[in-house]
């Protein structure tokens, strides 16, 4: 019983971290229909900025987080103008894959050049080190913090996309950009804003998740499959879907590794296949479907 509880807690904590990093991808993929394989790269950039800000510039953790998100968004906005704008739309999927892989390569090479190949860390403040007791189970304070941040992100995003006119206009622009423009919706600005949202979330996830997914130049490539899995299981563009998927995968992965570590990898992918077999459009049928 206690073990089950332990697995559940660990799984939820892991899941929330997956959620916070992947939800930005769900936004760009589901809402803008951009297969943004550079999502991991943006997350990594956020992490590196925070690491630099905290370690070299000596900012506090909170401040470093804000700076990282802001700088990442600012740095990637020109990319939207110059690159992404040309590949919007589901018809361009292959071009998207190629372009974002190319971009990822460039970012990886750049980070490698600037910061070197070794692992980087973002020092945690005193407050977030140590553990909190959750019944019989102790979980690291930092993870508890991430869970809270994830929940806040979840609610905020849901409200923004489902309840505001911005959300409606955005979804209209995604569904049929030409018609949306003909109705007077400024699709270009909307896309810019949404892109910024997506990269901001990526950076946030990169910083908050750095304890689990350590920062190094190949971060950008190493974890992208994991993020895609969350988005696919959740249903692209569905915020609640991403959360449900991240938690489900987190728990499955944790349980698999605990119970049958030798076949941990099998277990995870077999579960993925089963879930996608049962829900081919993801838990919450994706917007793009």
């Amino acid at each position: 019983m206690e073990t089950m509880f332990g697995i559940a807690v660990d799984g939820v904590a892991y899941g929330m971290i997956l959620f916070i990093i992947s939800v930005g991808l769900s936004v760009t993929l589901g809402l803008m229909r951009v297969v943004n394989l550079a999502h991991g790269a943006f997350a990594m950039v956020g992490g590196y900025v925070a690491s630099y800000a905290a370690q070299t510039a000596g900012l506090s953790y909170g401040l470093a987080l804000v700076v990282a998100v802001a700088l990442t968004v600012l740095a990637t906005l020109p990319l939207e103008r110059l690159l992404y704008r040309r590949i919007y739309g589901s018809a361009n999927e292959l071009a998207q894959v190629l372009l974002t892989i190319g971009l990822t390569f460039v970012i990886v090479a750049g980070i490698n050049y600037l910061f070197g190949p070794t692992l980087k860390r973002i020092p945690l403040p005193e407050m977030l080190t140590g553990t909190v007791e959750l019944g019989p189970k102790a979980i690291p304070t930092h993870r508890a913090f991430v869970i809270a941040a994830g929940a806040a992100t979840l609610l905020g995003l849901w409200w923004l996309l489902e309840r505001t006119d911005f959300g409606i206009r955005l979804r209209a622009a995604v569904d049929d950009p030409a018609m949306a423009a003909a109705l007077g919706i400024r699709t270009e600005r909307l896309y810019l804003a949404t892109f910024a949202l997506g990269t901001g979330l990526a950076a946030l996830g990169g910083v908050l998740g750095a304890e689990l997914l350590p920062l190094e130049p190949y971060y950008a490539i190493r974890y992208i499959v994991l993020f895609l899995a969350v988005v696919a299981v959740g249903g692209a563009g569905s915020i609640f879907g991403s959360a449900a998927a991240a938690l489900a995968l987190g728990i499955v992965d944790t349980a698999g590794k605990y119970l049958i570590p030798n076949f941990g990898e099998f277990f995870f992918y077999a579960a993925l296949i089963l879930i996608l077999f049962r829900w081919p459009h993801g838990f919450f049928k994706g917007r793009a479907a």
Binding site: L94, I273, H281
Partner: protein, 341 residues
């Protein structure tokens, strides 16, 4: 990115839009002899680089298999290496344990690749878009994990070594200089291209194109989209398996990487780079990518990644249909000039 996902946008590709299909087909026809001719020329011109050329030829066959599923079936996959790896291991295991004739190895690879494609295809091809992409990745990972666990047969992460293929037709030994390897690989590639072209111009190829565009419409004329896709996936699996076997024959070793995700992803990049739905685009893309990689990695291994990234971005921005579409456009221009003259 689900239902409409894999359709190439007719608007983004002005050439295919306005060239009558017949003209495009003609270019396709020149493509294959051209591959053979350039391949042979390379044999004489670059005798010291046969190792690289052999890898390009075998990889091109693999990328070709991906073109079959993606370019003609609209199946976006990041798990094609599962078939490649299965074919490679099958060929290797057959060679190590039973018979090391290169053709027998190719046959084993083809059967294994086709078999695994048939089995997994039937399981996953109900899905589309991102879901399918994930499923293919998952299948790839599982195949790789099986290969890792079956150490007794596959050598696990150490790789399956000790593959020593017999001389081709009992005459041509696989030498250190790679002459036999290269010519053998080139011949298999050209044969593969011919067969693929044949299949894609058949009624089956036509039906597959229909499925790619609108599977529901296919069922409305009485076809079963899934059975076409599964068949196509299996056919492509045979190609991928043969490509894997070809690599096993020419390199004498099979590693876990041959079934890995990076290899699938790289193949996708090479295909899109070359241009989908053309067959010879696969060859162009593979040659361009691996050639450039080779040159960059030799001159500046630390930063080649950045350069190749810029190159990919450049292709998307300036040659949206891939290199092959650029060539077609060039061809179109020349022809128009001729017409005027």
């Amino acid at each position: 990115m689900t239902s409409v996902a894999e359709r190439p946008d007719p608007m983004s590709d002005p050439v295919s839009r306005h060239t009558p299909p017949a003209a495009r087909r003609d270019l396709g026809w020149i493509g294959i002899p051209l591959v053979a001719a350039v391949g042979l020329a390379a044999y004489w011109l670059l005798p010291d680089d046969l190792a690289l050329l052999t890898r390009i030829a075998a990889s091109a066959l693999f990328v070709l298999s991906l073109d079959l599923v993606l370019g003609y079936g609209g199946i976006a996959t990041l798990g094609q290496a599962a078939m490649f790896g299965t074919g490679a291991y099958a060929a290797g295991i057959v060679a190590v344990n039973w018979i090391n004739d290169p053709f027998a190895m190719l046959a084993a690879g083809g059967i294994a690749g086709g078999g695994i494609a048939l089995a997994t295809g039937a399981l996953i091809l109900h899905a589309r878009g991102l879901t399918l992409l994930m499923l293919t990745i998952a299948v790839g990972q599982i195949v790789q994990e099986v290969a890792n666990k079956a150490r007794d047969w596959t050598g696990g992460s150490d790789g399956l070594s000790g593959i020593d293929p017999a001389p081709v037709l009992g005459l041509f030994r696989f030498d250190m200089f790679g002459r036999t390897s290269y010519l053998f690989a080139l011949a298999v590639l050209v044969a593969g291209l011919l067969v693929a072209r044949r299949i894609m111009r058949s009624p089956f190829g036509l039906a597959c194109r229909g499925v790619r565009e609108d599977p529901l419409r296919i069922s409305a004329i009485g076809g079963s989209p899934k059975s076409y896709l599964v068949a196509l996936y299996a056919v492509a699996g045979v190609f991928a398996g043969v490509a894997g076997a070809l690599t096993a024959v020419t390199s004498g070793i099979v590693g876990l990487d041959s079934a890995g995700f990076p290899w699938s992803a790289e193949a996708l990049v090479m295909l899109v780079l070359g241009g989908t739905g053309r067959l010879y685009g696969a060859v162009i893309g593979t040659a361009a990518f691996m050639g450039i990689h080779h040159i960059l990695a030799a001159s500046d291994p630390f930063h080649w990644m950045g350069f190749i990234g810029l190159f990919l971005i450049g292709i998307v921005l300036f040659l949206p249909g891939g290199i092959a579409s650029g060539l077609e456009r060039l061809g179109g221009l020349l022809r128009r000039k001729e017409d005027r003259a």
